[in-house]
Assembly symmetry: D2
Homo-oligomer: 341 residues x 4
């Protein structure tokens, strides 16, 4: 019963196999491997974006920070949700990579930026005032940190507001695939067609060892991004092992199948939960309030999950985050539910 995070799961067989296959022989390093050429072509095709540039790194924090550093100068402001991973969980990586930019909070229910709040915040942005940091980028997350999902029209609206203010749009897609299969649209629809300029396509939480693709739909600053990657120590010499994984992941819809399984398991979990979720489930994450005795039973049985601050201070309940993964077993879900009582 492992619901702590989707990054506590390992790799599915085809990914391990891809690593083994990539191990044959010698390969040129630093991203010049033939597998990277194949992956680039594959991503361009998958996203219907023949001009897109792709850069691989091994963590979401690195991917986000590198993407933002190409969009935002040191004296810039990045608009993000109060609960965004880049704000809360990256130990200041965006500030480090940008050389000291500022993350400006935008409010919104359920971990999603509210369009009016974004408009209001941008209206007071201080653009043109030398004493203020200057608006530089909008950063969205999908799935959000609350497990909710921006629909395509919602992304389109927010990106439109950003573009009206000449701000490029970054999408932290650590769980992009979970959002994608839930939304049931094409990768292009949920990214550049909706106005996303740079997408972090997360593989790590969906079955890869540590592979994230930064996809620049506008390739103008790709060279700068590559220099920043090298300078940050994120350019792998044995790069073929990254390319190989993501290439195998994109083949035969594996990436979609893995995410679909995780979402299905979360739905199964949701169906068995009584009581209110903290946020509407949209993919493979649930935030639930459990009776304290059920929590005790689950802990005793070895269930793994994180407590979540809920600010209710109800001594009878505890709030928890439950994340399913590509290899979550239905029997574990059912056992979890049975222990709830």
């Amino acid at each position: 019963m492992y619901f702590a995070s989707d990054n506590t799961s390992g790799l599915p067989g085809p990914i391990l196999d891809a690593i083994t296959r990539a191990n044959d022989g010698y390969a040129a390093g630093y991203g010049t491997d033939p597998l990277m050429d194949a992956l680039r072509a594959r991503i361009r095709q998958t996203f219907d974006a023949p001009e897109a540039e792709v850069m691989l790194v091994t963590t979401g924090t690195a991917a986000n920070a590198l993407a933002l550093a190409t969009l935002c100068p040191p004296f810039g402001a990045i608009y993000c949700h109060t609960l965004a991973h880049i704000e809360v969980d990256e130990c200041g990586a965006p500030e480090f990579y940008t050389g000291g930019a500022k993350l400006v909070h935008v409010a919104g229910a359920d971990g999603k930026i509210n369009a009016d709040a974004l408009r209001d915040t941008l209206a007071q942005s201080g653009r043109g005032v030398v004493h203020s940091v200057q608006p530089a980028a909008l950063s969205l997350t999908n799935l959000t940190e609350c497990g909710t999902r921006y629909s395509v029209p919602e992304i389109t609206e927010l990106a439109g507001i950003a573009h009206d203010h000449d701000l490029p749009v970054h999408l932290d897609g650590a769980r992009f695939v979970n959002a994608l299969v839930a939304e049931g649209c094409t990768p292009a629809d949920m990214s550049w067609r909706a106005g996303v300029d740079v997408l972090v396509l997360g593989g790590t939480k969906n079955g890869l060892m540590g592979v994230e693709a930064v996809i620049f739909f506008n390739p103008a600053r790709t060279w700068e991004a590559q220099l920043r990657r090298k300078r940050a120590g994120h350019l792998w010499s044995k790069h073929r092992f990254l390319s190989a994984q993501m290439l195998a992941w994109l083949e035969n819809d594996l990436w979609l199948d893995l995410a679909r399984h995780a979402n299905t398991m979360a739905a199964r979990l949701e169906a068995g939960l009584t009581g209110q979720l903290m946020f509407p489930r949209a993919g493979n994450m649930l935030f639930a309030t459990l009776p304290r005795d059920a929590h005790a039973r689950l802990q005793a049985a070895g269930a793994q999950y994180f407590l979540w601050p809920d600010h209710q201070n109800d001594p009878e309940t505890v709030s928890v985050r439950l994340v399913t993964s590509w290899n979550t077993r239905a029997e574990d879900v059912d056992r979890f539910l049975s222990l709830l009582g």
Copy 2:
């Protein structure tokens, strides 16, 4: 005939196996995996350093830059050889990670810092002068970028000079194991007993996928190092795959055997070369001057290696760098030599 770099080789079987074994089940992330506990214990034992702290990252550039950032403030100076990897080949990573420290060149033949040159440079260091960056660290590389080796007494002398000036010593050990087996001493002798305060123990060039250990023999600033690692996006969620590789590498002397093989192949290559080497060979790298027609034959036969600037401008010759690896085949060495004519 792949002599371009030891990082164009893949992984030996035991490392692939270790990855496969580590893939079983779930594991806590971010370096809290049990394999990391085992690895830490193993490294402490191997280096006879029960207090040492260990941090894994996936590239040598990241390892060096993180190590240096814990040793050197933004207004500090890092003393290194003119040809050091941190100066020449990391696109300014130390400057990025330290917040703008300065790398100060120290001269010396064959890629090795000369002790008198270090003394002279430190004598003019500007310590205590507010207009100057302040001496902060000495950085050595072993094997050096010229493929030469500091002996234990040489490291001891240079580290002693540094310590006399209150400077901690960083050792870039991308090819530490090649130096170690060539020197025939213990890991402790070539590191902390010789005065090294922070060692980057490189695995990537010696058979791992992308694993480097930063070993702090003085653990005082380990927490800071961990925060800097996270902030740089180098803290892996699926960290077990890094721990597992290095643990398997250290078992049964695999790390030593791999490096020994590479060195042996380089010796075989050296034995067959006629004419002068640019630098004395000490491990698995050779820098040789070849007749241009031999070079043409080798290229035609598909041999892989890098040209090296030699400043001789002799139209009849070309200078090259040849690097052997854990999986270099004797038959490839022999074929290379036969093509030299």
Copy 3:
């Protein structure tokens, strides 16, 4: 009728005279001038702090950023009010100087940090969690950006909370003297005795050309601060002109008299205003809501002041910030009030 800012006023006669006197002859540069020795002694005496170290710079932004950079590492968090000058009006200077630290907002009415809000924020600080920036400093402002004042007990309480969490306390004292004379306490009472570790004593808004003293009550990191000042280009060669001004300012209670005059003029203005102030006046700043027709009359008569966002959207009124200065004339205050109608 100049109420735009206290920094639109020039220098009182004694300060100009001090500049002229300091101009005689030659003087050693970079803060080694004898006037700086005299000033240091004078500040130590004035603040009853014989160990304090003093560093002069020419802007409040530089003073704050340098002070914070000595207190907060790149991976640190600085707790400040949502409206703090360091957050709102310095174009990201603290982020630049610290190498990318994060400013964390703490709420509170009237521009003052609320003690419970500070406790709550620190309780969720993420200390010890590698994914979070680490608590590093508390920053207060007195007078605040809303013109209100922390009393000595209030500073003591907030600093106590900070110290309980091992955080040093920075006080942005751009208008420290206005607060001091209003509070009627000693400089020591409003600074180190209340728990302030680093004070920015602002001279520029109170009659100097551009002189701010960073006073380190704990002198441990003074040398680092001096290096950071030099590195930032804030170490003056003709430093005597800074020392001379602040020395003359501290003599014969000039600094106190100048601030007292400004406060008195603000009180005169307040006495004549009808209607509610936006914040309780505590020194030389008022935030008032004026009828739109009065505003029009004042503008027509050439009155200078800034509009202030009040979020009331009342078409009949306009909110304004009025700041008095060391040379505000009573007749201008009275004329302003007469125009209000």
Copy 4:
């Protein structure tokens, strides 16, 4: 007998007068003062550069670092002489302001970059190689740190090489005026017409209190420069006192007269010196080797100057730097010479 530095002198009468005049009344802050408008117009006229933008700061270090930060990205290389002030005497300010760029040394006799050395260095620059910092700017200094002067043709040649490599040219003109009057050309000839893109026009060493103008002949990145200035704490609120000084300095050829006097005094000193100068004198600086007994007599008589490293280790002599200023007195020069014996 003050020959330590031209920044140990104070201000000439007209500059003090300008400060006094500027002190009348109120003035808008932060560079929006009418005197700044007048100064900008004056500089454009003086440099025959109607499009130029001008930004004032108070130290040469700040001026250089801000200028370079607008020219050079964090992953860039700045080519400068081994002895350049930005390399040797600014405690890493360029690295701080650029976010960690690298200063690459170019050799040349007498403190001047040698054109062939520049060509060679740029030929090995690593442009387009992701492991290398990328060429970003050429930085010249005139007068140089050795008191020598680049002639207009020399600047033109070096700037041409830089432009051939798409590098903009920065000129550190801390002693630009001394060079200008010695060269006997127009300000335009020694700056943009010779290929300089950004000039730091130093006032501090030539009679101002602390005023340096950064002149952007290509104004494209002026707004960025202004934001960086603010963010660095170098935007003065009482900015009129900076504008006023430089405006008075440019009037009636005062700036030229002050520099001419300094140069004349240096020529007088040179004429009386026996023995070799270390570098050919070109303006107001001399580097001379003195007999040790003469040095002792001068010290005893209170003469002020700096020792200079000469690497000759001759126990009979001592090398010194002598700098004359706008207010150096002929009688002091003569007395100095008489003491030489």
